[in-house]
């Protein structure tokens, strides 16, 4: 099976090897066409973003204004902070020049002269590797002014790496732009969308690292070739990061639409100790979980996962065996979103804390079954009521863990009676007091 993003070629991170394998030929080809032609090919290929939302890449590029007196920018999102997601670092490590080539093509297509590659701060090693690759690309004339001579065109672009500093929220595109501008990573209200009003108020496109790394192959081999790989509505290969209770966790590049059971049992070596699966989150911690008894026939692409009530996200497949304590898992997830909420919107800032506290109360043995409804209620009030998608990301796991695994949570809660509790804040008004706690 052909691999697009991580081909099995030894030392591909060395520019000589990359060039010997047809490196920068796609950039040469793209630069000899018009930007519109390049966008059209990416559009027809059906390439969808690999950063979570699975938006059509070519369509996103076409939103960039053709005529503007402002500079245009390209941002490449390598923040990769979603628990369960660890694919981009493999690209930085094994195939940095294909990413750079993709950046050149994307910059040309949207007319950007400057591109910023945002990499999470914790990835010190991979930032150094990537910086080395960028320096080499400059030296060999594939970036900067020397490009004009190398490719024989008028186009040139610069690529800079911006190092994050430990904020999950900066993976959100508008927050990422604020972070590059030297501000706190607060997401911006949309509209205006980045294509109109992005970095420093200029037209900007933001793409995921994996998405961009696919682009050279599309230009080189043609959109028809790409569109025939994997699931028709979500073509290409996807980097699946399989983690949790499997024998061979790791990053695997496979065609989209592969069976989830194949991925877990054949590729990732099955579950440790041959245990049964209780739960799988197919796309990183913010996506709705699937029950172990619902995995048969589930395909790993955006459309198929939507049908079964989840989403592809970043392709981070988290496997939990039958002995996993889902309450513990959900508390840890809720804690994460509470910790990472930027604090801008009240529903998310307060709601993530309420959800964590309520879950901890249940773990302490003081929960009632009404708390489970309260949690879903809080989650429903966060979802859709915040500036960015972190609110949804925090609400989804809580809501879907409780609705899909209710029996797991019922184990921990006590039967309850309702008594009127005056002078409590709104959300607590209907909270019941456990029988055991009532002293007469």
């Amino acid at each position: 099976m052909e691999k697009i993003v991580l081909p099995e070629i030894p030392d591909l991170d060395k520019i000589e090897v990359y060039l010997a394998n047809g490196g920068f030929e796609a950039a040469r080809k793209a630069l000899s066409q018009t930007p519109e032609e390049v966008i059209e090919q990416v559009k027809k290929s059906g390439l969808r973003g690999r950063g979570g939302a699975a938006f059509l890449t070519g369509l996103k590029w076409s939103f960039m204004p053709k005529t503007t007196d402002k500079p245009k920018y390209l941002c490449i999102n390598g923040d990769e902070s979603e628990p369960g997601s660890f694919k981009d670092r493999q690209i930085f490590e094994d195939n940095p020049f294909q990413l750079i080539e993709g950046i050149i093509i994307a910059s040309y297509a949207i007319g950007a002269k400057t591109a910023y590659l945002y990499i999470r701060g914790e990835y010190h090693k991979w930032i150094k590797l990537m910086q080395k690759a960028v320096d080499t690309a400059y030296e060999k004339g594939f970036l900067g002014d020397a490009m004009k001579q190398t490719f024989g065109t008028d186009f040139s672009c610069n690529l800079f790496i911006h190092k994050g500093a430990g904020a999950y929220i900066c993976g959100e595109e508008s927050s990422l732009m604020n972070s590059i501008e030297g501000l706190r990573g607060y997401p911006r209200v949309k509209p205006p969308f980045p294509a109109q009003n992005g970095l420093w108020g200029c037209p900007t496109t933001i793409n995921n690292v994996e998405t961009i790394t696919n682009v050279p192959a599309i230009i080189k081999n043609g959109w028809e070739w790409f569109s025939k790989i994997g699931a028709p509505k979500h073509p290409g290969t996807i980097l699946f990061g399989v983690s949790g209770h499997v024998n061979k966790p790791g990053v695997y590049e496979l065609p989209s639409g592969i069976l989830l059971t194949d991925l877990i049992y054949n590729i990732a070596g099955g579950v440790i100790g041959d245990k049964k699966i209780k739960c799988v989150i197919p796309g990183g911690s913010s996506m709705p979980p699937l029950r172990g008894d619902q995995l048969e026939g589930v395909k790993m692409d955006a459309e198929s996962l939507k049908e079964v009530g989840s989403a592809i996200g970043t392709g981070g497949v988290m496997v939990m065996d039958e002995d996993t304590d889902l309450l513990k898992v959900l508390i840890r997830i809720a804690h994460f979103y509470h910790h990472e909420s930027c604090g801008q919107c009240t529903p998310c800032r307060e709601g993530t804390g309420w959800m964590e506290k309520t879950l901890r109360r249940i773990a302490d043995g003081n929960g009632t079954s009404k708390d489970l409804d309260l949690l879903c209620d809080v989650a429903n009030h966060i979802k859709g009521n915040t500036i960015c998608a972190l609110g949804d990301a925090a609400a989804w796991p809580v809501k879907f863990f409780i609705t899909r695994f209710r029996e797991e949570f019922e184990k921990y809660v006590k039967p309850e009676i309702s008594i009127a509790v005056p002078n409590k804040v709104h959300s607590m008004r209907n909270t019941a007091i456990p029988l055991a706690d009532i002293k007469i």
Binding site: P71, E80, S81, E82, P83, G84, S85, F86, D88, R89, R120, G121, E122, Y123, H124, K125, F160, H162, K163, G164, A165, G166, A167, Y168, S179, I180, E181, G182, L183, R184, G185, W200, G241, V242, S243, G244, H245, P249, G250, V251, S285, G316, M318, M320, T324, K328, V329, R332, I333, F336, H339, E340, C342
Partner: protein, 157 residues
């Protein structure tokens, strides 16, 4: 205690400044440079960053207090960052965390008296397939076991 950038770092700042159209955008990389030189970001350091870049001090403060990788107090020579997020938790991250806490006698964001170690419980570091993991300063240590942790910590001096 006043803080001044070294000549070499001032040159680095000049280079960083060229990457961005505004001085404000250079705040994040310059805070990193300052942290490398000083170990942590004090008020004096923030004042100097603001002066060197010609931005308001409050801009530097707002950045330093938002991002978790900027330290406002001195950390140990070896800053141990243990991930306990879901995937590490599933594969024993909390046992590793508890062991290290006991071994070093430290809790979250504490520094040992001799300044050798500091400890931090961190959120997902992007090593989920190689869990459990911790990082010491800039280096990742993955697929940890209790024995491996002992060995790594004992080898530091």
């Amino acid at each position: 205690m006043s803080f001044k950038f070294t000549e070499e770092n001032l040159k680095r700042i000049e280079e960083v400044r060229k990457k961005y159209p505004t001085a404000l955008a250079a705040v994040m990389p310059v805070v990193y440079i300052a942290q490398e030189q000083n170990g942590y970001i004090s008020n004096e350091v923030m004042e100097e960053i603001a002066a060197v870049l010609g931005v308001d001090k409050v801009n530097v403060l707002s950045v330093v207090t938002f991002y978790t990788m900027y330290y406002t107090k001195p950390m140990g020579k070896y800053h141990v960052q243990v991930c306990t997020n879901v995937l590490c938790m599933l594969r024993g991250g909390y046992e590793i965390w508890d062991n290290i806490k006991t071994k070093l006698g430290l809790d979250h964001m504490q520094v040992s008296d001799d300044g050798k170690f500091s400890l931090e419980e961190v959120e997902c570091m992007g090593a989920c397939g190689y869990a459990p993991m911790f990082a010491i300063n800039e280096d990742f240590y993955e697929n940890l076991t209790k024995e491996k942790v002992e060995e790594i910590l004992n080898s530091l001096n």
